[in-house]
């Protein structure tokens, strides 16, 4: 069983939803980013999404755009991202790692080579934001060969005709984007999310994770009642950004503050009973 499936089984047994946290690899620098990554699980993250930085993050709002840019300036890249996972895996063999990014850096790295090295490094899942299933053929097989879960997104605009296509190629879990918009934008109403999750479950037995626009503990707890996992990205990255000097250097309490914020989200979520 994959780490992702094992994690969702554990969550189910504990009758709670999981917390998926996001960070961009190498923001604000490789050492600090590694320190955050290494501390996330202890702080309460059930799964970790790592963003591969890209120069043109079209699906991201200002917070993650800035994060991506800081990472690139700090010298981050696809190979650095994989290296971070390797280092993480030396101490943690349980927490699932999902890489999230745009297709071009992966395509240029070489899709097959990327999938092989991702697996070897300890990556469990892959989300490629600008690669809909129609264009994903060249990634689907190499990912499958390496048993790396390919996770496609469902959104409020996804209709009943497209949903089966998305589900056909998705493994691990389905990621529901709760808003029409970029990351870190306004939040959807919890009723709308509940309706969407309910209708997704009619089509799939895969766990459902909800992300985009979840900022506060209250929102995370509300989503925790209805979905299998809640993804928090921009809010965590904003915490990180708040702990930078004017020239984007980390203040001494950056790692502690970011992990403290994650711990708060996780603790509240762990107290939330899943009602599904």
């Amino acid at each position: 069983m994959s780490r992702i499936s094992e994690k969702f089984t554990t969550l189910k047994n504990e009758n709670r939803a999981g917390l998926i946290t996001f960070l961009v690899a190498g923001d604000p620098d490789l050492v600090t980013s590694q320190a955050i990554l290494d501390g996330l699980s202890m702080a309460g993250a059930d799964m970790i999404e790592i963003g591969i930085p890209f120069s043109d993050p079209m699906a991201d709002g200002p917070i993650i755009q800035a994060s991506s840019l800081r990472a690139l300036i700090a010298g981050s890249s696809v190979s650095n991202t994989l290296k971070m996972v390797q280092i993480f895996r030396k101490k943690n063999t349980i927490t699932p790692i999902i890489l999230m990014g745009y297709y071009n850096p992966i395509y240029i790295y070489g899709v097959v080579k990327f999938c092989i090295e991702a697996k070897v490094s300890g990556v469990d899942g892959l989300i490629v934001v600008d690669l809909p299933p129609e264009e994903a053929e060249e990634l689907i097989k190499p990912a499958k060969d390496q048993c790396v879960d390919l996770i496609f997104l469902a959104t409020p605009t996804t209709d009943n005709i497209r949903l089966p296509l998305i589900l056909e190629y998705t493994s691990g879990f389905i990621y529901y984007v709760s808003i029409t918009g970029v990351t870190g934008a306004c939040s959807a109403s919890i009723c709308d999310i509940a309706d969407a999750v309910t209708s997704l479950r009619r089509y799939t037995t895969l766990p459902v994770a909800v992300g985009f626009g979840l900022k506060s503990s209250n929102q995370v707890m509300a989503v925790g009642k209805i979905a299998d996992a809640a993804v928090v990205g921009s809010a965590i990255v904003q915490k990180l950004a708040d702990c930078l000097t004017v020239d984007n250097r980390p203040k001494s309490d950056l790692v502690k503050n970011v992990l403290h914020f994650v711990n708060e989200l996780a603790t509240n979520l762990q107290l939330t009973v899943n009602l599904k």
């Binding site: 043109d56 755009q65 071009n104 395509y107 809909p132 264009e135 469902a154 996804t158 918009g181």
Partner: protein, 404 residues
């Protein structure tokens, strides 16, 4: 490599030209893009749509645009007969309006309330703002802050036309960043907004649809040159940023194997520097802005900033159909530097009394290069894609600084 006896028509049903093109967008946009494709497929075979389109092209844009025999340039270049396809004489001063008329009629059919667009030099922004004024739709233009600074007259024109111009400060604050921001706005306002892409790039169906709307340039040229010379031209030459005026001129002739075609990219300060915009001659295939095509990028797959004297060519990608025509060798893609374009700009003004856009001056410059080896029984048609009034302040500054 594919055989040269290909019939050049359309991409496959998912918008692929060979390995290029396609639809690389987030899931949120996919259903919407599919609905644009459906609406366009219905519209292009609807006589009402076709009639309305020709009505506006003829009576509002001022088509057909003349095919002008440039006798002074012909003499000066000392070789082939030079014809200029005068897209600069269109309403709003460039070929961009051909596409905008087509797309706004489509947006209206789809019941969209707001039009958004990206712009580099401002020509597409002005054309978009113009058709929005004409049809009473709300218009929001995304433009890089750097471009706003160097294209002030066009920014003011857009505002007069009632458009909101939103300055984009991310990245290098040029066309690529404006396109990122337009896509972000689109994904956020997915139901009400129509994204009027200005070139033959982006997710399918845009590269094909924009090409179809621009192919009027080549269709008219074919008829006009037959009347003037009784035969097809030997060469077609057009500048390429995204490549919409070029594909517009070329497309009708792709199956005429004796018609040579040259696409001219911007070499900026030179291909050996990193200050250029030649995606084909200085880039490699990748994925950006919804399609796979040649891109200026690092070995890590990060997109580089493009550079050209001409804001309209300042884009790190190129339309996917051009990428394909390049790979199969049907069109020859070359590049011309800022200095060469500036020379051609001045020469066209002084010899023909025509101020070409700096973009179009790239094409004229390359005509000079090949004309030397040809004689008067050869015919060259150059796409004069736009007029250069917008560039006069830029050129004045450069010449005052002793550029060249």
């Amino acid at each position: 490599m594919q055989s040269v006896n290909i019939t050049f028509t359309n991409p496959d049903n998912r918008g692929h030209f060979g390995i290029y093109g396609g639809r690389y967008v987030s899931e949120t946009l996919m259903p919407l893009i599919l609905s644009v494709e459906r609406a366009y497929r219905l519209a292009k075979s609807d006589p009402m749509f076709i009639n309305e389109l020709s009505y506006y092209l003829n009576n509002y844009v001022g088509r057909p645009s003349p095919l002008y025999f440039a006798k002074n340039l012909t003499r000066a270049f000392g070789g082939a007969k030079i014809y200029l396809k005068r897209e600069d004489l269109n309403h709003t001063g460039a070929h961009k309006i051909n596409n905008c008329i087509g797309q706004i009629l489509l947006a209206k059919r789809m019941g969209k309330q707001q039009i958004i667009a990206e712009t580099g030099a401002g020509q597409h922004g002005v054309a978009t703002a113009t058709v929005c004024a004409l049809f009473g739709l709300k218009c929001l233009i995304f433009m890089g802050a750097t471009d706003i600074e160097r294209q002030k007259p066009n920014v003011y024109r857009m505002k007069l036309l009632g458009a909101e111009v939103r300055a984009v400060t991310s990245g290098g604050a040029t066309l690529k960043d404006a396109m990122n921001e337009a896509m972000r706005y689109w994904v956020t306002n997915v139901n009400d907004v129509y994204y009027m892409i200005g070139t033959v790039a982006g997710p399918h169906p845009f590269p094909t649809m924009v090409r179809d709307f621009q192919s009027i340039i080549g269709k008219e040229t074919r008829m006009q040159i037959m009347i003037a010379e009784g035969r097809l031209p030997n060469y077609l030459i057009a500048c390429i940023g995204g490549g919409s005026n070029a594909i517009g001129l070329f497309h009708t002739f792709l199956n005429d194997k004796d018609v040579h075609m040259v696409g001219v990219e911007a070499a900026g300060r030179g291909l050996q520097t990193n200050k250029h915009a030649s995606s084909l001659n200085g880039g490699m295939p990748g994925v950006l802005h919804g399609n796979r095509t040649y891109l200026l990028q690092t070995t890590d797959g990060q997109i580089n900033e493009a550079y050209s004297i001409s804001a309209g060519l300042d884009y790190p990608g190129i339309g996917p159909e051009h990428a394909w025509l390049h790979d199969i060798g049907r069109v020859n893609y070359v590049s011309v530097t800022d200095d060469q374009a500036l020379d051609a700009f001045q020469q066209t003004i002084s010899l023909e009394g025509i101020i070409p856009a700096l973009e179009s001056a790239h094409a004229i410059s390359y005509a000079k290069v090949i004309s030397r080896d040809l004689s008067l029984d050869h015919l060259i048609v150059i796409s004069l894609s736009g007029r250069g009034d917008k560039d006069v302040p830029t050129v004045a500054n450069l010449l005052a600084d002793g550029y060249s």
